[in-house]
Amino acid sequence: MSRLAALLSACLLAAGLGAAPGAWELRFIDQQGEPVPDAVASLVPLDAAAPPAATDRPEIMQEGQQFAPYVTVVQTGSIVVFPNRDTVQHHVYSVSKARRFELPLYMPGKAEAVTFGEPGVVVLGCNIHDWMAAYLVVVPTPWFAKSGASGTAALAAPAGRYRLEIWHPRLGKPLARDITLADRNAPLGYTLTLKPDRRIRRPTDPKSGGYK
């Protein structure tokens, strides 16, 4: 918590600038001061049970031999569809504790659905194309948001007590703190100490080192 306190710097940039009741803007920057996209913030209610998951079925597609989007957030119990919009086969898998599954021999045009019933981070990969990776963050609440390219995320939830959880693929440990959300909330700025991006590189055509 003390680490969180050190990272958390409230910046009253636009207090009272027309924020809707219970709406909250979070701004994420890294240690170099650059905006951080794909940071996930969620509000887990402390005094009441969270409403059930919505019935929409978010997609994580395979296109151009990449997953898109790179980071997806869903509520526990959600069904996620994995359409293969590529011209090649994939073998989508996860070995994460939160959900282990495999979609081998996954032909172009297929779109299977998978239910995610446990909270946690599900790391997705393709066993044919090792550089393909994506994250599915399953949270036990319908109140969540993901930061965009500008590093900002807008959370909206009824006033009350929550556990605010912050996650990012390059954050060593998720951040968490208990907060009380009022009808009007000042924007919050977070400085996230991110680890180096260690994604596996997409290979170019390797040439054999033959000698004749």
């Binding site: 898998y93 081998p104 994604r199 596996i200 590189r201 997409r202 390797p206 080192g209």
Partner: protein
């Protein structure tokens, strides 16, 4: 080789529907080769440039949970402007079956590959079939380091026995993804088998007459050789049994997902069974595109 077939291949692969299912690759390289003539006599050895263009078509299929098939067709054209008898055109299919042992990028894999190509050259006796096979084991050590071990076999069934060769190779290869765009690959290996070497007419005549010692004289009178004019009038091509240390280092720059450039250095230190040495080094720049 009938010239219409490569043209048909190019036209077929350019069709959009076919291209989606069968990715096409095109690469071109320019190389400078020290001792391109693979000559033991430094005073008469020849250096030269070599240009190569390769068109490939690939079919990739996962046919069972951990099994992958890559099948392809390669058309390769090599040009040696200063010694045009060494120009070559190769066309042939290849296939590789790969088994991955587990899920994820760090799971080890093993593969077996085979290929067959027809080779047409400016040397009539060098025309013929080239068969290759390879066993390979690979493992990603970290997000940026890859290690591979391979053993290969190559056999050429040529028009003349001078060019009939059989080789075995063992190689270790380490790849390092330096950054998002740059990668470095180094390899070292050992080759055993037959190689075609060349000598100017007077040098070879001297060897046959004992000018390089009795062991070389005896050996050179037993092996297959012919006057091929491969690197000049009167030059002789001959087949030796040899052992070679081969190594390479390549620096690759990806421009985007489908284009890359590579700067590559290859070296080979060959020692024939009678102790004659042939050193060859090659420096090349290549561009590769995938469609």
């Amino acid at each position: 080789m009938r010239p219409g077939f490569p043209l048909f291949l190019c036209a077929a692969l350019a069709a959009p529907g076919l291209r989606a299912a069968i990715p096409v690759g095109l690469s071109a390289s320019a190389s400078w080769v020290d001792n391109i003539s693979r000559t033991s006599d430094a005073a008469t050895s020849r250096d030269g440039a070599r240009y190569e263009a390769t068109l490939t078509a690939d079919l990739n299929r996962q046919f069972a949970r951990d099994w992958f098939l890559n099948a392809g067709l390669d058309l390769r054209s090599g040009t040696v402007p200063d010694f045009d008898r060494n120009n070559a055109l190769e066309l042939g299919p290849r296939a590789r079956v790969r088994r991955k042992f587990g899920l994820g990028p760090f799971a080890p894999s093993a593969s077996a590959a085979a290929g067959l190509a027809y080779r047409a050259t400016g040397l009539a006796g060098d025309d013929g079939w080239l068969a290759t096979a390879e066993l390979r084991a690979a493992k990603r050590l970290t997000e940026t380091l890859r290690l591979a071990l391979s053993g290969g076999w190559l056999e050429q069934y040529a028009g003349h026995s001078t060019f009939d060769i059989r080789q075995q190779t063992a190689r270790i290869e380490l790849g390092w993804d330096v950054s998002e765009r740059w990668s470095l690959t180094v390899s070292h290996g050992r080759l055993w088998g037959d190689l075609v070497a060349n000598a100017s007419g007077p040098v070879y005549a001297s060897a046959l007459a004992g000018g390089l010692g009795p062991a070389v004289q005896d050996y050179y009178n037993r092996i297959a050789f012919e006057t091929s004019h491969a690197y000049g009038p009167g030059w002789v091509s001959y087949r030796v049994h040899a052992r070679a240390d081969v190594w390479s280092a390549s620096l690759n720059r990806a421009f985007w997902d489908r284009a890359s450039a590579e700067l590559r250095v290859d070296g080979a230190a060959v020692r024939s069974q009678v102790g004659v040495r042939y050193e060859t080094d090659s420096y090349s720049l290549s561009l590769a595109l995938r469609f």
